[in-house]
């Protein structure tokens, strides 16, 4: 089990070290005097795990002990990767420039989410401020009412 795990780790280490600039920059393509090198973002992730158990039930009687000797095992793993093109390098004569590719889906989606986020926070702020103002007005009104009552009481007493 340990040897296998070490082999797995070594394979993964090799894979991680193999990922380099060649994964991001593609092979140059030349046509009509213009060379284009594609560029991409690369993301790779994976995980693995394993387990093993042993041991029978505590207090098992002699005839059952053979059946309840206990055993275990299990392992699993998963991996995923993504390469997203983000632009290309154009080399024409002496001119070398990077031409980006804007993601026309993510930017509007992020914009919509941002507008919703801003509206949510502004509405929440307005609600809290309005509640505070209403509470203050209510307390002012109560104070004024109390003053009027007090004045009326003191007027009745002097009469």
């Amino acid at each position: 089990m340990d040897t296998q795990a070490t082999q797995n780790t070594e394979a993964i280490q090799k894979l991680l070290q193999a990922l380099g600039a060649t994964a991001v920059f593609g092979a140059p393509i030349t046509q009509n005097g213009t060379t284009v090198i594609p560029v991409a973002h690369v993301t790779v992730g994976f995980g693995y795990g394993g387990g093993y158990g042993r041991g029978g039930e505590i207090g098992a009687t002699a005839p059952d002990a053979a059946n309840n000797s206990g055993e275990g095992g299990g392992s699993g793993g998963g991996a995923g990767g993504r390469s997203t093109p983000c632009g290309f390098i154009r080399i024409t004569g002496d001119d070398v420039r990077y031409e980006p590719i804007a993601d026309e889906t993510r930017i509007p989606l992020a914009g919509i989410a941002m507008v919703a986020w801003i509206v949510f926070w502004i509405m929440a702020t307005i609600r809290v401020i309005a509640k505070g103002v209403a509470k203050t007005q209510q307390m002012k009104w109560k104070l004024a009412q109390a003053e009027v009552d007090h004045a009326q009481h003191s007027g009745e007493k002097t009469k």
Binding site: G45, G49, W117, I118
Partner: protein, 104 residues
């Protein structure tokens, strides 16, 4: 897994790619590497992200770099900063309003 987590290795590096000759120029790609790994006997996980950084061009005696800027990432980052700033300001206003109401 706890052992693996204890061995977690984050790494950030700038990798130099193999130079290629294109139209009399030596083009060397530069890549930004972000890596996180936690590998152990019982389990492990790793995450690698490679993004283009720049291209170093050597033409004759002169050497210069062409930076690679991703407009999508830049826009998303701006949105993120704007959202964080607005929520921060709104939170401050709310705290101020609550504080003033309590003081009154």
């Amino acid at each position: 897994m706890p052992q693996a987590m204890a061995n977690a290795v984050p790494a950030h590096a700038l990798l130099e790619g193999t130079p290629i000759t294109v139209a009399g120029k030596i083009v060397q790609p530069m890549v930004r590497l972000q890596r996180w790994q936690a590998l152990g006997d019982a389990g492990g996980a790793a995450f690698v992200r490679l993004s283009p950084h720049s291209v170093r061009i050597q033409a004759g005696d002169s050497t210069y770099a062409v930076p690679i800027v991703d407009p999508t990432q830049a826009s998303l980052r701006k949105f993120f900063y704007l959202g964080t700033a607005i929520s921060g300001v709104c939170l401050l206003l709310m705290l101020l309003a609550v504080g003033l109401t309590r003081r009154w």
